[in-house]
């Protein structure tokens, strides 16, 4: 058992990476496996600094391949283990993540996005959205929470462990280096004080297997094509069935919005400042922010898109979220425009200007 550090509500002024380490401890995570890559390093720095008090475990591995697979090992041994990565590390960790998809391992990983392709930039982007949602070979199922700030990081990191262990799908916190490195006030709390019970983490690979217990043999290889399809069909059916329990979204002044901004993560916060400014100018703008990027909350998303006169997709990427959304709003004819800045932050001013231009010259797509 790990020692929990936060016993009562504690307001702190922390970086997002620090928040994630505290959240993992609050969730009673007891082992982190990790490999350094900017901008997520301070998660493990904080985790390691706290080890004498928490009595949790840590292993600095030789690369992200190992961080991913040893995290799987820790989970199989019955630990609430997790890892974190970014950028090129996220690419090579997909090997382990796809094994977690196939074997339904409750893998938890925080992805702090940085610019790509390749080494690119080390602090910020939203360019790992597609990779984090769909990175494996084959068609595995994952749950991805996109956070927009520090309270989100704390709340959803705790939730990620419970989602992963309850449903046995790999679960991700998708954030970015701005969130990781920026300092914000955040309320830390003991999950129990909010009525949150942590899911149990039974070992799959056990020690002390008695003679009358059957050995547990687990694999990710199948002999026949049909055998694989049968398994994946089951996964799909289950994922679709539980999706309504998992889906989360946030709307901001979206009820009467004529121009609906669709954004996730920290860009959604820029959108909120822009919306306030636009409303003062008499322009009815609103926001739909998917919190779960996978699965998307399709019903409310379609309703919001249907209500609006125009849609604006904006991302620090070239339309990765938009592609996922467009597939889900098939048939809705509301025209849309885009403001994409690949690997660059989107400011409130950017969005005010863009929306004003859409009022003058409506979107035609």
């Amino acid at each position: 058992m790990v020692n929990k550090l936060i016993k009562e509500d504690t307001k702190m002024f922390l970086t997002g990476n620090e928040v994630l380490a505290y959240a993992a401890n609050a969730a009673e995570a007891d082992f982190m496996y990790g490999y350094p890559i900017t901008p997520q390093n301070e998660i493990m720095h904080t985790w390691c600094k706290l080890l004498p008090k928490t009595e949790a475990g840590f292993l600095q591995t030789e690369d992200e391949i190992s961080a991913g697979f040893s995290t799987i090992g820790g989970i199989l041994a019955g630990r609430r283990a997790f890892t974190a990565t970014a950028g090129p590390g996220n690419v090579i960790m997909q090997d382990a993540m796809s094994m977690a998809e196939m074997m339904r391992i409750p893998f938890v990983c925080a992805v702090m996005q940085r610019g790509g392709p390749s080494t690119a930039t080390v602090i910020y982007a939203q360019q790992e959205t597609t990779l984090t949602c769909f990175g494996g070979n084959g068609e595995g199922y994952r749950i991805v929470y996109s956070t927009a700030g520090h309270q989100d990081l704390f709340d959803y990191m705790i939730k990620a462990f419970n989602t992963a262990w309850k449903y046995k799908f790999p679960t991700f916190i998708l954030a970015d280096g701005y969130q990781g490195k920026m300092r914000e006030p955040v309320m830390l709390y003991d999950p129990a004080s909010r009525g949150i019970t942590m899911e149990k983490t039974p070992a799959i690979l056990r020690s002390g297997v008695s003679a009358d217990m059957k050995a547990n043999h687990i694999r990710n290889t199948f002999n026949l094509e049909e055998e694989l399809m049968e398994e994946l069909d089951k996964y799909e059916e289950e994922f679709n069935r539980i999706a309504p329990e998992i889906e989360e979204y946030e709307e901001y002044k979206a009820d009467d919005a004529e121009i609906l901004i669709i954004a996730h993560g920290i860009v959604a916060r820029s959108a909120m400042t822009a919306i306030d400014e636009l409303r003062e100018k008499g322009i009815k703008a609103g926001l739909f922010r998917p919190i779960t990027i996978r699965p998307l909350a399709v019903k409310p998303l379609r309703a919001a898109c249907q209500r609006a006169k125009q849609i604006l997709f904006t991302e620090s990427a070239n339309g990765q979220l938009a592609r996922m959304v467009l597939e889900k709003i098939y048939g809705i004819t509301t025209p849309y425009s885009t403001l994409y800045k690949m690997g660059v932050g989107v400011t409130g001013d950017d969005l005010v200007q863009k929306v004003e231009s859409m009022v003058k010259t409506p979107a035609a797509i």
Binding site: F31, E62, S70, G73, G208
Partner: protein, 252 residues
């Protein structure tokens, strides 16, 4: 009158009898290595503490061979899965079972780092000098001049470098106080059983063990039984069969 002997084979307790006949090709060395490992587990009475992991390649066919909790992983990734397990639960005796490709090519960085860190586990590398499952390509351990699908005119060491020597490499980077490193061969299963026992005893004492086992692949070698044995003997001349590192007082 023909009398049929109807005696069941003597199976080690740590081998899963429900798994049925071995899935390896006729003449393959894996069955011998695994059965010997299972006997060593029986000898030390550690079945209830053992977790077995296997790699991709022919070694994956061992996923349900042992009567212990087992996980089949990805190519080269058995080592990190197993030290992930034993770091999380040090009571477990973790065994990572792989071929020469999994240990010395695609998973070499994990073997190197597990050895340097002295992970509490046993890594078993079965060296048959080629990639069996994928149809007989050159492995890091392919012998000079040996014909494989990707060296159809024989391995030319001036182009490909010389064969990798796993046990020598591992012994040069480990902490000798806490490590057991040996190379054994399927031509002497009694010695192999002793080697496995020493390796597992070392793990029980909290150390890292590495055992490379010289094995045979008659299907891809395209050899009959005589030539298979002959090839194994040539391998034993090239890859020295011995204990490389052993802590004092280790019992086998």
């Amino acid at each position: 009158m023909v009398q049929v002997l109807d005696l069941p084979p003597v199976l080690p307790n740590a081998q899963d009898e429900e798994a049925g006949a071995s899935k390896f090709c006729p003449g393959c060395g894996h069955g011998m290595v695994l059965k010997t490992l299972a006997f060593a587990i029986d000898d030390l009475n550690i079945k209830d503490k053992t977790v077995f992991g296997c790699d991709i390649g022919c070694s994956l066919l061992s996923w349900n061979y042992m009567d212990v909790d087992s996980v089949q992983t990805h190519h080269g990734r058995t080592t990190p899965v197993i030290y992930g397990v034993t770091r999380a639960n040090p009571e477990i005796i973790g065994i990572a079972y792989m071929g020469d490709g999994g240990g010395l090519a695609i998973g070499a960085q994990h073997l190197v780092n597990a050895a340097v860190r002295g992970e509490k586990m046993l890594a078993i590398l079965v060296n048959n000098t080629n990639y069996g499952m994928t149809g007989g390509q050159m492995a890091p351990t392919t012998m000079p001049g040996q014909k494989t699908e990707t060296t159809p005119y024989g391995r030319d060491c001036s182009v490909t470098g010389k064969p990798a020597k796993g046990a020598e490499m591992v012994s040069s980077i480990v902490d000798p106080e806490k490590t057991y490193v040996a190379r054994a061969t399927v031509s002497n299963l009694r010695a192999l059983r002793k080697t496995f026992k020493k390796a597992l005893n070392n793990v029980q004492q909290g150390g890292f063990s590495f055992v490379e086992v010289l094995s045979v692949c008659p299907l891809n070698w395209r050899t009959n039984n005589v030539d298979t044995w002959g090839r194994l003997k040539t391998m034993e001349e090239f890859f020295e069969v011995k204990e490389f590192v052993s802590r004092e007082g280790l019992e086998g």
